[in-house]
Symmetry: D2
């Protein structure tokens, strides 16, 4: 990412990730301290019981955490690690991964992400993530 990151630039970064294109994630919000990634649910993203696969949730959490960290740390960041707690099956037509920076230093940001399933306007948190984003190098 470049030092000054705009939502358009964030979308370009996401689009430069082949795996994000495979999942078809998009940047919905990208502003200081906050990033939201969205994924429309389609058959390819499900698990054997018809719910959104946990791997899609963890992918989205990971990426949204990194993008949120990027809004304050800028440029070159990576996820050191994160944890995710699953609470409910992922039902709905849209996954909204809403991440924010809880607190940051010059080199690291602790971020949290709510994994929200949206369906016909109703919303429900189905999982929650937290992780540390670090400046590279």
């Amino acid at each position: 990412m470049a030092e000054e990151i705009t939502p358009e630039l964030a979308e370009l970064v996401l689009d430069a990730q082949p795996f994000s294109r495979l999942v078809r994630a998009r940047v919905a919000v990208f502003e200081p301290g906050r990033a939201v990634l969205e994924v429309e649910v389609r058959d390819e993203l499900l698990q054997q019981n018809g719910f959104l696969h946990g791997g899609v949730l963890s992918y989205a959490a990971d990426n949204a955490l990194t993008f949120a960290g990027g809004t304050v740390l800028g440029a070159s960041v990576l996820t050191s690690g994160f944890s995710i707690e699953y609470l409910r099956p992922g039902r709905g037509s849209l996954l909204s991964a809403r991440a924010h920076v809880l607190e940051s230093t010059r080199r690291r940001a602790v971020c949290r992400c709510d994994l929200v399933m949206v369906d016909d306007g109703s919303e429900r948190i189905v999982a929650a993530a937290q992780g540390t984003i670090a400046l590279v190098g």
Copy 2:
């Protein structure tokens, strides 16, 4: 999963997950206390710098942990939550997600997973995961 799970059955379960087919994961090992999932690296699975996307690592960790838990808890299991620590960029031609059950009770199993990148026979751990798998219902 059925009560008595064979490697063949595990492969069928994985194949019944559309997202696992999208990623093209396969079951390499499935035996009491241990499960290994493998994913061949291809362009679609990369991030913007040419490394395996973290989301593929977290997908594989999540699923391998669940499968490992399934080897001892049988039938209906899900991942309550897990954490993953990234240590190095994912370089190589094959991702091998090697999970094992550390300890279990009748209803829960604590499992760990080494995320190993394989390239020309050499291997390197690039990330590590740990989580709790629980019996459903």
Copy 3:
């Protein structure tokens, strides 16, 4: 904990934990969806560089998460697991572990906890935790 838990009862539960008495933790807030534990910093709780020991932070996070879960799940709860990210050394005269329930089902609650160091009225988040609290039995 009893089904209907008042702040007074929560304080009694905390006081019935010998380790919490050793640390000298107290319940500062206990209301639906939220629990705050406080620990006054004293020499016994430090590490070798004069900061609050990480173990005190993880103790407080663990307990505050459990108490927060208890505000919605009532009675018999335990922490299934949690993760904690450290951001800064723990400096200050008071640790305030502020936990809330992000989302819950009948049997489980995903909770988060901000670990805040207070000093002369100024506050700073030094660590962050997240975990799952479950009904026992």
Copy 4:
């Protein structure tokens, strides 16, 4: 810690932590890639049901992970973050927190810790932790 850390030096470091003295932890093993901390169970360390308090387990996990990381990273290390999964109540007369380095780079080590309760020679894993230890500065 000094660059070349001996078990004796590790014990001195632990003893320089007032909170570790309060808990009465000791270094049982300290060798390249591995560190074991032990805590004898006594009334002061229990929770309200007579089991070892989760906070003692998380303290021991945190510290053992850091010490294990210190065996390979040397000198100045700290825990970036860790996660812990609880599987059983902590029953027994001795807690043995057995940590090892799974993999490390020059600046970071991913470590795991088995939390084992020992009683009359029998042993049982009651919790498991994993975290990242980083070089300071």
